[in-house]
């Protein structure tokens, strides 16, 4: 008799919860139900607003630095919303935390699409994280624009027609850095240090295409959840490399530097754009500066790091884009430092504004995808975009720079290349000037 009562209770509880669930939802029955609101052209679009969503590492190992990107993008949107928005619509940006944890990304993305019914996903961050959701997004025909990651996997127009990259992909970046190392460090010993996933591995692929194999003395990798990299650094030090080229996120660039100092190893560091933001690195290393032999400030430990950039940097305050973004930053995002992450956020938001404008008066999901495929003008980049119906990759290349003080100083000319066997070439075009009100002109 007792067990039967338990069963009854169990059944009753299930029923009650089911009723609660039904009561909580707006439409019973299977399927997604009606998703449009108020005579608009697509989900997430009303006559006065467009709502987009994103998953970001607001907490977790990738949060240092990267957590500034979405608020910066939002600052740009608020700035242009104040001027009327795009085609009469304000952009509402809903970004949620996935802690750089692939298992959380799926739930968060589904929430954005199924519950919040956003128009599209914008600038979702992370290679391992976003890879989990591109199938779902493409199956659901949701625009997946300007993923914040340089993986080649976003450039797949036939398999994933709704997904677009934005930043220079890691193979291209590897080739450009590799080309520079080949030309400026001939005959020297080179070591690689990279994140053991598609981000790091793609970078290594690019490096290997340019750097002669005989120069590479060791390749060490790390896992993003394990900050104890002493063993790898000891092995790199033991290889007596002159140059260490790293595809690392900021926390691990800092760890690389610190562990190198510990063992008395001081090579030339060449760091991927992803992990070289000077203000972020200073923040991590400053407390170690004094005990690390630096006599002035924390950023002494990062001087002379070679890196690359596909956007103009704060090292050039006369640049029209830097001035525009600084103005927006001071007004809408003043608590954050004005660093590479903030620039990134605003630049990609500008690109979205360009795409939305090109999508016309009544933007639809398929419409905005077609608009991007027609090509997007260069904007704040140092190189053009590669968007077309056959390519969903973003920037074509990057420019080499060096950390001086608290900024990256760009040098030489921007370089472009493909992710195949194409040569690394100089880009001879010029960067357009920023529109004064921040709204794209076309």
């Amino acid at each position: 008799m007792r067990t039967s009562r338990i069963r009854l209770m169990a059944g009753g509880i299930v029923l009650v919860l089911g009723a609660a669930a039904c009561g909580g939802s707006s439409s019973g029955g299977g399927g997604g139900g009606s998703s449009n609101s108020g005579g608009a052209s697509a989900p997430g679009v009303t006559s006065t607003t467009v709502t987009i969503g994103s998953t970001q590492p607001l907490t977790g190992p990738a949060a240092p630095g990267y957590s500034e990107i979405a608020p910066a993008a939002n600052a740009y949107f608020q700035y242009i919303n104040a001027a009327g928005g795009i085609n009469g619509r304000k952009i509402i940006y809903k970004y949620v935390d996935d802690a750089y944890d692939p298992s959380k990304t799926v739930t968060q993305t589904k929430k954005l699409i199924l519950q919040d019914k956003v128009f599209g996903i914008f600038n979702a961050l992370g290679t391992p994280t976003h890879e989990q959701v591109i199938d779902f997004l493409n199956q659901s025909k949701v625009p997946d624009l300007f993923v914040a990651s340089g993986c080649q996997c976003w450039d797949d127009p036939s398999g994933h027609p709704y997904t677009f990259g934005w930043q220079t992909d890691y193979v291209v970046e590897g080739k450009i850095l590799g080309d520079y190392i080949k030309k400026h460090f001939p005959g020297k010993k080179i070591a690689y240090f990279y994140q053991d996933d598609d981000f790091g591995k793609d970078g290594v692929k690019g490096l290997d295409m340019e750097i002669p194999a005989g120069q590479v003395v060791t390749k060490q990798s790390y896992q993003v959840t394990n900050p104890n990299i002493a063993a790898q650094v000891q092995k790199i030090a033991a290889s007596k490399a002159d140059v260490v080229v790293s595809f690392t996120i900021p926390a691990f660039t800092a760890l690389l530097k610190l562990n190198s100092l510990k063992v008395g190893f001081n090579p030339q560091l060449v760091v991927s754009n992803v992990g070289s933001d000077p203000l972020t690195l200073s923040g991590l290393l400053e407390t170690y500066a004094k005990q690390g032999g630096a006599t002035v400030k924390g950023n002494e430990l990062i001087q002379g790091i070679i890196t690359d950039a596909y956007l103009s940097t704060p090292g050039d305050p006369s640049n029209s884009w830097i001035q525009l973004f600084k103005k927006i930053h001071d007004q809408y995002d003043a608590k954050a430092p004005f660093d590479g992450n903030v620039l990134y956020g605003m630049a990609v938001a500008y690109t979205f504004a360009q795409a939305l404008q090109a999508a016309g008066q009544n933007p639809t999901r398929d419409g905005i995808v077609a608009a991007v495929e027609k090509g997007i003008a260069q904007g704040p980049g140092t190189v053009p975009f590669r968007f077309s119906s056959s390519s969903h990759a973003g920037f074509e290349g990057a420019q080499i720079g060096t950390i001086k003080g608290t900024v990256i100083q760009l040098s030489g000319k921007p370089m472009t290349t493909d992710d195949g066997s194409g040569a690394v070439q100089e880009f001879t075009g010029t960067q357009p000037t920023a529109p004064s009100n921040g709204i794209p002109t076309g």
Binding site: A10, I13, D101, L114
Partner: protein, 346 residues
């Protein structure tokens, strides 16, 4: 006594079977009624429930404290993720086979851990299983295995397609609920059987049990094996729900969440395990955030950590004020209707 009772209370198996059927129909009706926008939120509940049922057996019935169920879940999840996508004919049928494999591999692993831990008691066992929970996820990062296990990125799983009547998301929920019902049926029978009695005997007094002829280590290892198998199924369900099997999803916090589910629901009670799982998952997913917006908390750091604070307090307080968990509270309210579980209440 047997002659005076109804036929239905004479046969445990029949009784359980009938109510399983009733529960099944109710559950399926509920699943059909939930819309997609909410279904995917609930999809993790069965995963935790399966594991919690196993932990109830291990800790409640058999008295062995385990903080490492997350590790068994991980073994099941990875087994499932390595096998299922490769078997491309009729995904729904192969899914059942993949579940069985996940449970089998986890069971073997559970046997190994059970044997190693057979001499450990109380806090030593807790500490050893804690070390397992923290240690096992790192195996995916081992260089020589990272090509197969893909390190921190984890393994991807395709989306499960419904065979009809239910939408895809609802179908995931149905699969989970079916697994929970099957496990409830099996475990309820086990509890009433000789095996269950021997587990309780060992839990209550090891010396008396061994004097009575029971092999204490065998019983304890069996409890580990079964709870590991159930956790393996839970892990496979979680991987299915997330379309991904990665080490972060099976860290220490998951093991603690399962333990919390069992404690909050009421240690030793199978229904309690299910209720506790619902509470823990919903708290994490929505309730804490809803509370934060209700209280108009705009600070992200406060809102995002709200669920940890609530759940930590619940856990500590449950032990101090309501050690019987939700089932204990229900018993106090409804008196006779909810029977006292023969659980670890001393």
């Amino acid at each position: 006594m047997a002659d005076r009772d109804l036929w239905i209370s004479r046969s445990t198996l029949l009784r359980h079977a009938l109510f399983t059927l009733v529960g099944l129909v109710l559950a399926l009706a509920v699943c059909k009624a939930i819309d997609d926008a909410h279904a995917f939120e609930y999809v993790q509940i069965p995963a935790y429930a399966c594991t919690a049922i196993g932990l109830t057996l291990l800790t409640g019935m058999s008295g062995q404290i385990s903080l490492g169920q997350g590790a068994f879940m991980m073994v099941g999840a990875y087994t499932f993720a390595l096998l299922w996508p490769k078997w491309t004919t009729d995904p729904n049928l192969t899914m059942i086979a993949a579940f069985a494999c996940a449970m089998a591999v986890s069971a073997v692993f559970g046997a190994l851990v059970g044997v190693a831990a057979a001499r450990l008691r109380g806090p030593y066992l807790a500490g050893a299983t804690l070390a397992l929970a923290v240690g096992l996820p790192s195996i995916t990062e081992y260089e020589h295995l990272s090509n197969h296990l893909k390190g921190n990125q984890g393994l991807s799983l395709p989306i499960l397609v419904s065979p009809g009547f239910f939408s895809d998301t609802q179908w995931s929920l149905v699969v989970g609920v079916l697994c929970v019902i099957v496990l409830l049926f099996l475990t309820a029978n086990l509890v009433r059987s000789r095996v269950g009695r021997s587990m309780r005997a060992v839990r209550d007094d090891e010396i008396a049990a061994s004097l009575g002829g029971l092999s204490v280590p065998s019983v304890q290892v069996l409890a580990f094996v079964i709870s590991a198998a159930w956790a393996g199924l839970g892990g496979a369900l979680l991987a299915l729900a997330n379309s991904n099997a990665s080490p972060n999803a099976f860290g220490l916090s998951v093991s603690l969440a399962v333990l919390a589910a069992v404690v909050i629901g009421g240690l030793g009670s199978l229904t309690g395990a299910v209720i506790g799982s619902i509470v823990v998952v919903m708290l994490n997913q929505t309730w804490a955030q809803d509370l934060a917006s209700h209280l108009s908390i705009s600070s992200a750091k406060v809102a995002n950590n709200m669920y940890l604070v609530i759940y930590g307090v619940l856990l500590a307080v449950a032990m101090l004020i309501a050690p019987g968990g939700v089932m204990g509270i229900l018993r106090r309210i409804f008196g006779f209707a909810v029977p006292r579980q023969r659980a670890a209440e001393q």
